[in-house]
Symmetry: C2
Subunit: 157 residues, 2 copies
């Protein structure tokens, strides 16, 4: 199965890129996983949040292919436990040949157009974490979900 | 205000210790923050989870002073948004001179004795993350909460 993480801006925090690297490597066993990085917007200092979201949203939609199933990682999304996320992932693997494209928004969230185009919204936590750190949380959780699907002894309930 | 994080076993994941180091450094501006590490249990391979939790629980309670307010970071706890966590922290700062002691349990959670001794239980997410990674999530969230309390421009709603 093809899975991609769509992120805005390169990972500049070394501790995050190291952690993401560890889980990306482990994910190779379970799926064809890749990270797509959309360049950061420039000159955002005086740009209103709404305009930032819209410009970024356009880039997200440009990067989304018509055979992609767009899933937003968004604090306004549905909260799942790890086991529920694994079940959700298992269903997507069975029902669709589309690539799963998980998108992490910028600090202001997603534009209305992106919300409209998304098939699912998942929240990793009620709390807000730095968007770079969310990359690490997501890759770990994706790895954890695959170990549950395969019945491997990584996750304890 | 004195705040400590009580953790089981040293942080062996370099990316986690680097990230925790970044936020620990930033926290110096806002509080007297420290990390207390309880040694890992030995020979746990054949030890039943219940016994692991009880032995670990005893160590947690030994490390908890009578002037500490014990707060468990536990997926069975109450989920708060970042702003709610900041409000909760603000209240603790006003009402008490006790040290706030946040404890992260091992992979099997906490013993009944630890639950009984705790004043609060807070959940960082419905999802389960590695207990080392929880250290990073917590220190970032504590830093984020202080920036909200101080009205500093780090967190966006």
């Amino acid at each position: 199965m093809k899975i991609a993480l769509l992120q805005t801006g390169k990972t500049t925090e070394r501790h995050v890129s190291e952690g993401v690297g560890i889980y990306t490597e482990r994910l190779k066993k379970y799926c064809d996983f890749g990270i797509i990085t959309i360049p950061d917007l420039k000159d955002t200092r005086k740009m209103p949040p709404r305009e930032q979201k819209e410009r970024e949203g356009k880039k997200i939609l440009d990067a989304t292919g018509k055979d992609d199933l767009l899933v937003l990682l968004d604090k306004r999304g549905r909260e799942l436990t790890t086991v529920e996320f694994a079940q959700w992932l298992g269903k997507r693997m069975q029902e669709s040949r589309k690539r799963l494209l998980f998108a992490i928004g910028g600090p202001w969230g997603f534009s209305d157009e992106v919300y409209a185009a998304a098939a699912f919204r998942i929240s990793l936590s009620k709390m807000t974490f730095p968007h770079q750190l969310v990359r690490l949380l997501f890759t770990e959780q994706l790895y954890r979900a695959f170990t549950i699907i395969r019945g491997e002894p990584y996750h304890h309930e």
